[in-house]
């Protein structure tokens, strides 16, 4: 181990292999059988349960927990997968603390919700671990649908369409399918190649052809797909990254947090990844937290998340913020980068303190500097390369409640569409619901 956390600059091998392995292990270890039974026993089997309402995919949570409690985790997994085919990934990455678990009546009663996320993982891991795919395809409809994007929205849409008897071809711009599940989620939330395992398990229903390296606008076009397929679903996510609009943004070592996360996820040897001694992450969402925590786990000495508004406005949940601080990340609120310091490469960031006056975010006039070997931008992604024919709303593809775009025969869902929140689980729900509408329109 040639380097340490105190080595200046951007270097690899700050930590030994064992420490890295420990750092990047499962954030929440899976429940064993006993733990699952104890956790399941706490569910009250509520009427019209608030957790179901809070789940974007409407999983029947009290039922799946009761199925765990009664010793039938396979049945439990089927309950989950019938609503959410990516229930395995969602069990790992859902911000349950702001969804199902936030509204759990035991949160109200005791400040300690039923561990819904971990129970969902227990059930889905059990069935998937047996290599069982619980669904079979319906009789062929003879229809063929093109899906753009092999992320949560596209895969969910493709699976549902295939299950209903349609043939599907998925096109993805990258060389590897999975979308954000594969490239955009912190490593410790999806260990042991889970994203690819889940992908293969999902595709095992049959009827889905995967074509990678196919970028919309260059390799394929919406017109081409519309001509050759009975319907098109767009779920290509947000490929662009928002600009800082701070001086010096073009300096070396000012990087996109999503690229950092993707590189980290794809790395076969974490010790070979270079990381700065001092890191500044700019932003307030889950991407900022994922990047900051992983920078720390790679061996950065000082990691700071800088967010321009207050703690209450941060889109990363309090749970995520606590996770970051527990790993040694510092979070600064109400600070905005004014300029990146350094000649050629970044050496620091000058921030201004911010305040909200009359609903407007303005500088207090006071500034300070933070040293930084690397600056990660995590201030949101933008839609790149949307087909010109489609109506755009708030920077995303406009869709109605069924996922229909402004063009007949074209549906969209997930982060690229102007639907719900940019969450994996929301993308899965939108893909599924669009599939139902596509199928209904094709078989009407």
């Amino acid at each position: 181990m040639p380097n340490s956390i105190a080595t200046n600059g951007v270097v690899a091998e700050r930590l030994d292999q064992q420490t890295l392995a420990d750092n990047f292990t499962d954030l929440h270890p899976p429940l064993d059988d006993h733990e699952a039974l104890v956790a399941a026993d706490r569910c009250y089997f509520c009427h019209d349960a608030p957790c179901i309402t809070a789940c974007p995919t409407d999983i029947d949570i009290p039922l799946f927990i009761r199925q765990i409690a009664t010793g039938t985790p396979d049945a439990s997994a089927k309950t989950i997968f019938s609503q959410n085919i990516m229930g395995g990934m969602c069990a790992r990455v859902c911000p349950t603390e702001t969804l199902c678990e936030e509204v759990c009546v035991r949160e109200t009663a005791e400040g300690k919700p039923v561990e819904i996320g971990r129970l969902q993982r227990y059930a889905t891991d059990t069935l998937m671990g047996k290599g069982i795919h619980p669904f079979v395809r319906a009789k062929s409809t003879g229809k063929k649908v093109a899906v753009v994007g092999a992320g949560p929205a596209g895969l969910s849409c493709a699976h549902r369409l295939a299950m209903l008897g349609n043939d599907v071809v998925i096109f993805d711009a990258r060389a590897k399918a999975g979308g954000l599940n594969e490239f955009g989620i912190a490593s410790y939330k999806s260990v042991d190649g889970f994203a690819q395992n889940e992908l293969n398990w999902l595709l095992s229903i049959g009827g889905i052809e995967l074509k990678t390296g196919q970028s919309l606008g260059s390799d394929i076009t919406l017109d081409g797909l519309s001509n050759n397929y009975d319907a098109v679903f767009l779920g290509m996510g947000l490929a662009g990254v928002n600009a800082l609009r701070a001086d010096g943004e073009d300096k070396d070592n000012v990087l996109d947090a999503v690229s950092f996360i993707a590189d980290l996820r794809q790395a076969s040897d974490l010790s070979k990844l270079s990381i700065g001694r001092r890191i500044v992450v700019i932003g307030g969402g889950m991407t900022a937290v994922d990047a900051a925590v992983q920078a720390k786990l790679l061996g950065a000495e000082e990691v700071t998340i800088a967010y321009r508004r207050g703690k209450d406005r941060m889109s990363a949940s309090v749970y995520e913020q606590d996770l970051a601080t527990s790993k040694g990340v510092r979070i600064l609120y109400n600070v905005q980068p004014e300029r990146i310091l350094g000649n050629g490469a970044a050496v620091g960031v000058e921030f201004a303190y911010m305040q909200t006056k009359d609903g407007k975010l303005i500088s207090t006039g006071e500034t300070f500097e933070l040293r930084a070997d690397q600056v990660f931008k995590a201030i949101g992604q933008t839609l790149n390369g949307a087909p010109d024919a489609l109506e755009i709303e708030h920077g995303k593809i406009a869709v109605d409640e069924f996922g229909r775009t402004s063009q007949s025969g074209v549906w969209a869902g997930g982060d690229c569409a102007n639907g719900g929140e940019d969450l994996t689980v929301t993308a899965v729900a939108e893909g599924r619901d669009a599939a139902m509408d596509i199928h209904a329109s094709l078989t009407a």
Binding site: D41, Y44, C46, H47, D48, A49, P50, V105, A109
Partner: protein
């Protein structure tokens, strides 16, 4: 601190908590540990006649049912009476009694239904210095197949006959332990009284199969692929035991017969309930088998604190306090009107009351779009199901309607007069009021 000293049919103990005749009282080692932990007395595990002792199965003896988090609610056993030689037990009883003269030691007995057998064993027990005997007429498995235990307890004439022999051949106080595996528990209690019993103890265990192994298709506990019914005990049987105790306590024929209450006593509160329904003391087994002998310390402190709060100075003053209020259904006041009330500050909006009432009762709970649950007095019959399914204590309560108010369900004013079925106009057998 209240004085828990107890005297039951002349037998003194420092508290009313005895260990029942069962595995915890099978040996000197256990009983000494029990006394050190604070138990007021023990009923030594049932002795049989001299000779080769009984043998037990060598597979599982117990089966159980569980509540949430594997809390043991009911235990079933197929263990027989002591499988140790008679002389060993007698020697140990004598040794323990000598060292713990202030504790009660009762010896449980089960020998064949022959006068000679009883005549032979009683002097041996007297010689140990034990305080009394308990006749095991209740054990429902194994021994009953050999004409003992419950096989005797199910025939009142046998109970009377054997009890008479015991009183004839021994001066020791005699408790007759009753089986619940009968139709009317008052009949065996009366038979014991006729035979001269000083007291009855109840209930012994209930015939039961706790579960079935769905791979072997055999009852559990399973011995080499087969299962036999066992005797059921623990918290799950308490309601059955309380009723049987009350039946004897409120029957004019047996009202003065002392009762040692047994059946699922797990906390001080259970003990107080048994005593309020007529038990002079209680016997405990499953709670000790689940948690160890130390549980008696909670029973002692709990009963004592409660007595202090109530201003009750002696355990004898608890006995039968609830008996006058234990009546037949026909005597319940039909003019008493209550309505469920939900405390919105305590409610966690689980909706279990709604599901229960809407699906299985009277559609008397409304649910708003914001998941606020409220009682519709127009439909509420005060059945109490919502209270029972609510996970939060005291969140839903039954509130008595004031006299003179109008019950919105019936449109009738709440009467200040007692009105029961015996005088109700719908009762063809009603006797005219006044």
């Amino acid at each position: 601190m209240a004085n828990l000293a107890s005297e039951f049919i002349g037998i003194k103990s420092p508290n009313p908590f005895w260990l029942a005749s069962a595995p915890p009282t099978d040996k000197e080692y256990n009983v000494r540990r029990a006394f050190e932990a604070g138990w007021g007395g023990v009923v030594w595990k049932t002795l049989g006649e001299e000779g080769p002792p009984v043998v037990n199965v060598n597979g599982p003896r117990y089966g159980a049912i569980f509540g949430a988090d594997r809390r043991l609610l009911g235990l079933n056993n197929i263990e027989l009476i002591t499988d140790r030689p008679l002389e060993v037990n007698l020697r140990e009883i004598k040794a323990v009694k000598k060292d713990y003269p202030d504790r009660a030691i009762i010896v449980s007995l089960m020998v064949p239904c022959e006068e000679e057998a009883w005549k032979k064993i009683l002097p041996l027990v007297e010689e140990t210095g034990a305080d009394g005997v308990e006749l095991n007429f209740g054990c429902p498995h194994g021994m009953s197949e050999r004409g003992m235990g419950a096989a005797v307890g199910q025939v009142p004439e046998y109970i009377e006959m054997v009890t008479r022999w015991v009183k004839q051949y021994s001066k020791l106080p005699c408790i007759v332990k009753l089986t619940p595996n009968i139709t009317d528990v008052r009949k065996p209690a009366e038979a014991a009284m006729r035979g001269g019993a000083d007291a009855v103890s109840l209930i012994n265990t209930i015939n039961s199969i706790t579960s079935v192994d769905l791979d072997l298709f055999a009852p559990e506990p399973t011995i080499d692929g087969k299962g036999a019914h066992g005797g059921y005990c623990g918290p799950a049987v308490k309601p059955i035991a309380l009723n049987m105790v009350a039946e004897i306590a409120r029957s004019p024929e047996t009202a003065h017969l002392p009762i040692s209450g047994i059946g699922g006593v797990t906390t001080w509160k259970d003990a107080a309930e048994f005593m309020a329904l007529g038990a002079g003391n209680v016997q405990v087994c499953t709670a000790a088998m689940t948690y160890g002998f130390k549980v008696v310390q909670e029973m002692i402190s709990g009963l004592s604190d409660w007595m202090d709060q109530k201003g009750i100075e002696s355990t004898a003053d608890i006995v039968r306090r609830a008996v006058p209020n234990t009546t037949d259904w026909k005597d319940l006041n039909l003019n008493y009107i209550a309505k469920a009330k939900i405390d919105q500050d305590l409610c966690i909006s689980c909706g279990r009351c709604y599901a229960a009432c809407e699906d299985t009762s009277h559609q008397a709970i409304d649910m708003s779009d914001e998941r606020v649950f409220s009682v519709n007095d127009d439909e509420c019959v005060a059945c109490n199901l919502c209270v029972n399914v609510c996970p939060i204590q005291d969140c839903i309560t039954m509130e008595q309607m004031p006299i003179g108010a109008t019950d919105p369900r019936t449109g009738e004013k709440v009467s200040d007069k007692h009105g029961d079925w015996t005088t109700h106009p719908n009762n063809p057998m009603a006797t005219a009021a006044e």
